[in-house]
Subunit: 328 residues, 2 copies
DNA sequence: AAATCAGGTGCAAACGTTAGCATTGCGCAA
DNA sequence: TTGCGCAATGCTAACGTTTGCACCTGATTT
């Protein structure tokens, strides 16, 4: 069905190897022959088989990316950054998510191995562990927002949350709550630690009641906000695990008639596109998402080319907008 | 470097074919041998080569997906639906976006061909044309939201916008604007036509000044809103190409002190997650995104299995929320 | 005029796996 | 004892491509 190099060779009356070379403008094939073969190939609708190419010794031109979930905009931004540099390097992407399924992460890494990928990027603390405990030896990999792995690109999440908390303190807030991710991942504990640090470095006490669990999404933030405000001594400011949580929180507050930032201030984390356009716009900690992806990919290519690279820790940045009010 | 079936065979003192069969529990291999080989394979860290497998005649277990952009949540939802059923059918996904790059769509389809994919799904009217004009003959494909192609899953976009316009009319609005996608695609012209139909079927005139171009994103909606309200005779309601445009529109209105829905009503299209949580929440036309993806994938698998399938046109649904006010 | 050179091309092995067919023992029926 | 069938395994070709090396033919060098 599919025309192969042999078919072309037969029709042109030459050897398959000549066709192979002619198609890639090998210098030892005459210009005449190259033109003839290429025309013939086009006419016959020849499409090279990637599998065969790959088998015959060439290195793979595909890099893998593992992300938690296709519907999380944060990871999509990262992905988009990775894709950008992959294309620039003439590589393709094989992207896999590992959603709800607990087995899926293993399967994903198995797939990476079976494809003999040139390298891959792992984004999302949920799988870091899964990756690190397997011995998929030789394929170079870069992790995003992981801190122990030698090849990683990360932003200082702990410091980020601390900056958010400090900002709230500087506005006069003393009752500051935190809505967490709600699953035990390194990101979650780092950000929580940042919250504690921010409070303690200013000499304020922490109230365990003011730390509640979200789910990293809007719905989790919404219910967390309601739980917080039902407390006998509700907070006046809420630091959130991420922007989606913050949006949920603001929405939840709105539902029970609490205005942001007039009554309660809210800080997010990520600086998604929507953060700038939500009403009120979100004060948040910026992660340079696309840049993060780009950096990770660049690092991966460096690694693939044998360069020595080292872990990189990017500085977060506070973006002040309207979900935190003026100084009280 | 990588251990192959031959390495295992050598070590076990059997033929490669025996190893191959033992690894897949072939009935004609003794249980003993199977156990021995499998243990040995595990111990040696054997990982099958997908390329070799694929070359040796097996059909590919990968389906391709072409989307416009990784950062557009609408397509990510679709993707997530596709992925779900792909996994259920034990297939993998090869996802490609074709971003800004005009050449990229061709390259993407070339990649599909070179990989000898089992089939693919094309989402996004920008590439439909690119796909339809090429003769990538034998690989089954399903398009999303395309109307001429025999194998497609689509919702009735024209009807959707018409429903939105009718809703606005029923609230008493007469000056209704439309913010388009701004590029000539079938989606854009269909939705525009729905706008015209909605107006004309109620006997209202259309004012060309009230049709302005967005860009499918938030920024485009924002500037469109400002342009509309600067008109000598500004509209009192705005129908938008999609939710992201609507969010931009509401934001733009907010910037110039116009309240939604008190002063102006806004309707979106898609029903993204954020639509329900934006403030004000968005009245919008629901596309069953994830379902759309699932349907498309199911249809693709049916097609791959030789079943006869036909195009499917889903009914849109108006979701009434707070960006459109009570009857005036 | 003989030997060398180089450009142009063909041969064949290799990549890792699968699958059809052939082969080897063996126990068992005739 | 001879022949047979069956279970278990080996042989080999094939998938489509690449690549090192050998080969041929004119043309250039001495």
């Amino acid at each position: 069905m599919k025309v192969s190099i042999k078919d072309i060779a037969k029709k042109a009356g030459v050897a398959p190897s000549t066709v192979s070379r002619a198609l890639k403008n090998h210098p030892r094939i005459s210009a005449d022959m190259q033109a003839t073969i290429q025309a013939l190939a086009a006419e016959m609708g020849y499409v090279p088989s990637e599998s065969a190419r790959h088998l015959a010794g060439k290195q793979s031109r595909t890099i893998g990316v593992a992300i938690p979930d296709f519907t999380d905009p944060f990871y999509m931004n990262i992905l988009s950054g990775i894709e950008e540099v992959a294309i620039a390097h003439q590589h393709e992407l094989f992207v896999g998510s590992f959603n709800q399924d607990l087995d899926r992460d293993r399967k994903l890494f198995d797939a990476f191995d079976q494809k003999r990928l040139a390298g891959f990027v792992v984004a999302g603390s949920l799988v870091d562990a899964a990756y690190l405990t397997r011995d998929s030896g030789d394929i170079p990999a870069v992790l995003i927002n992981h801190y122990e792995y030698p090849f990683s690109v990360a932003i200082d999440q702990m410091r980020g949350v601390e900056m958010g908390v400090n900002h709230l303190i500087s506005l006069g807030h003393r009752k500051i709550a935190y809505v967490s991710l709600g699953t035990t991942t390194s990101s979650d504990s780092l950000r929580y630690q940042g919250y504690i640090n921010g409070l303690e470095s200013s000499g304020f006490s922490t109230n365990p009641n003011w730390v509640v669990e979200g789910d990293g999404g809007i719905a989790g933030g919404l219910s967390a906000a309601k739980r917080l405000m039902a407390l006998p001594d509700p907070p006046t400011a809420i630091m959130c695990y991420n922007d989606r949580t913050a949006i949920g929180v603001i929405n939840g507050l709105h539902q029970i008639g609490i205005a942001v930032p007039d009554d309660v201030s809210v800080v997010g984390f990520d600086d998604l596109e929507i953060a700038a356009y939500f009403l009120p716009s979100l004060t948040t900690i910026q992660q340079p998402h696309v840049h993060l992806g780009r950096q990770a990919a660049e690092k991966l290519f460096a690694l693939m080319h044998g360069a020595t690279v080292q872990a990189e820790l990017l500085e977060p940045k506070l973006i002040r907008r309207n979900s935190t009010g003026p100084k009280k």
